[in-house]
């Protein structure tokens, strides 16, 4: 397997990943535009899988597009919509087409999305999906049968460092690593002192950790996340900072904050990299990276 993302993780350099979202429909132009903008600026880009349980173009097709355009895709796979047979089949397909990175997720609830009456699956969970990947790498499927041609993946998962209570999340985190997660992308972290404490714990495990950075677009958006997004906690000081932005300048302030956080994470070597989520505003990711000021330094690391 050649996974430039895996190589990047192994190299010890500060890794940057981001996201692209497949469209609601067959018009791939916007996504392709984002891929074009990002492919040389990030080490890999996640292709989201019916994010927030909203039906879209499949992550597998999106990952293929990234690949075809010369980018490095991370295929997001949730356990919500496919049983073990469908997940295994998609892993075979992904592997056959050179999609070599997978992020294993449980998946949001169906009832939070736009097909509220659909049947949810959850035949396996995220840690079992990771274990399945490792099993399939040994040439076996979950039915105990031999595969004619095995798979090979750089597999990862997520963790929510700000979850309350945190202990059950940490047990799950450890199980994901035991099951085979090589890298972990975190839910958004805003309080970097809290994140440092999490990293003191997480460093003890053999997985690369990429800190989640979600672009704040306005003070109300930050308050909305605090109220509605599990495990995301934007400190009041950042909300105040967003609110202090001049009229029409909130987005620029958000980019500044995201860039500043990335810079701090990088300079203080808090973890192995960052995962930038600019939900719906992916075209701003290059600017965020630019703002962090680390890009020239990273380039010389290559």
């Amino acid at each position: 397997m050649s996974s430039s993302f895996k190589d990047a993780l192994k190299s010890g350099k500060f890794v940057i990943t981001s996201e692209v979202a497949p469209p609601k429909g067959t018009n791939l132009e916007k996504m392709a535009h984002h891929v074009e903008l990002l492919k040389d600026k990030v080490d890999a880009m996640n292709v989201t899988d019916h994010q927030s349980s909203v039906m879209r173009f499949p992550s597998l097709g999106g990952a293929l597009l990234v690949k075809e355009m010369g980018g490095e895709p991370i295929l997001q796979m949730t356990c919500r919509d496919r049983n073990r047979m469908a997940l295994e089949a998609d892993l075979l397909f992904a592997s056959s087409r050179g999609i070599n990175n997978v992020l294993c997720l449980t998946g949001d609830s169906i009832v939070l999305g736009d097909h509220k009456e659909a049947k949810s699956v959850f035949d396996v969970d995220s840690s079992q999906l990771l274990a399945t990947i490792r099993l399939m790498e040994k040439g076996k499927d979950m039915g105990g049968n031999n595969l004619d041609g095995a798979v090979s993946f750089c597999a990862g998962a997520i963790v929510t460092p700000e979850a309350n209570p945190i202990e059950p999340q940490l047990i799950k985190f450890e199980k994901k690593i035991e099951a085979g997660a090589e890298f972990i992308q975190t839910q958004a972290v805003y309080d970097l002192d809290n994140f440092k404490r999490f990293m003191e714990y997480a460093r003890g495990f053999p997985a690369k950790i990429l800190a989640g950075v979600i672009l704040l677009t306005s003070a109300p958006m930050a308050r909305f996340m605090n109220k509605n997004v599990a495990g995301v906690s934007v400190p009041q000081s950042l909300i105040d900072e967003m609110a202090s932005a001049p009229k029409g300048g909130a987005l620029a302030k958000g980019i500044e904050i995201a860039g500043r956080m990335i810079k701090q994470i990088w300079e203080e070597k808090m973890c192995d990299g960052v995962h930038i989520m600019a939900i719906g505003k992916e075209e701003l990711v290059p600017e965020i990276i630019e703002m962090s000021g680390i890009f020239p330094a990273l380039k010389t690391q290559d």
Binding site: D123, D125, Q128, A163, N164, P168, Q169, K172, K175, A230
Partner: protein, 214 residues
């Protein structure tokens, strides 16, 4: 005691189900639906009045003691004529009752309720689903709290990322099963059970439909 938990269908749906049916016999039940106030004597009376206002002729009514038991010969004899005269039976019991009655009376049955789950009363007026009859019990590993039933996603390896302050991502009124399990196992000094990576469940413990022959 386990209970069949029901809720009344919308007025529109009941009206639509009874469209074209003029003569109705209403059946309630003295057990679970009486407890949940969805098909006891009071609700049967309200329904009769509602139907009469809509121009239906009520041929009679009956609140069976236990609708999921076969009807007694006495009940059948006493109400046989009124049942015969009806175009349909509007049944205000859970689906167990509806099916038991349908089998015996050979009349068109119309359910007035939706059966939500089999649960128990966990506090006054509060009913919770605690067992989904999956056929592959794992309560021994989860401190006696069932994640297959009590976790919205049926996860067996710990919580998802949607859990928040011990509540489920779909509804703040619903507890996160894995917070409960964590707390229980922690109290018991058995957190090692939660650390064990559980294999994918056998979802065909009893391939549907269930059948058990002694």
């Amino acid at each position: 005691m386990i209970r069949s938990i029901t809720q009344q269908k919308s007025e529109e749906e009941i009206d639509q189900l009874l469209s074209g049916l003029g003569r109705i016999f209403v059946i309630g039940c003295g057990t679970c639906v009486t407890l949940t106030h969805t098909g006891g004597r009071t609700e049967v009376n309200v329904m009769k009045e509602h139907l009469a206002n809509k121009g239906k002729l009520i041929t009679g009514d009956l609140v069976l003691p236990v609708a999921c038991d076969n009807m007694t010969a006495e009940a059948l004899n006493e109400h046989g004529q009124q049942i015969d005269q009806a175009d349909a039976l509007l049944i205000m019991t859970c689906a167990f009752g509806v099916q038991t009655i349908a089998k015996q009376l050979k009349k068109l049955v119309v359910p007035a309720l939706d059966t939500l789950f089999i649960g128990k009363e966990t506090a006054l007026g509060q009913f919770d689903e605690v067992c989904a009859q999956c056929g592959t019990c794992i309560l021994g590993e989860t401190g006696g709290i069932c994640p297959v039933t009590s976790c919205h996603k049926g996860l067996v390896n710990g919580p998802c990322g949607g859990t928040n302050d011990g509540k489920c991502e779909i509804d703040n009124a619903k507890d996160c099963a894995w917070t409960l399990i964590y707390n229980r196992l922690n109290e018991l000094g058995r957190l090692d059970g939660m650390r064990k990576l559980q294999k994918p469940r056998n979802h065909q413990g009893e391939p549907s439909p269930g059948k058990f022959i002694l």
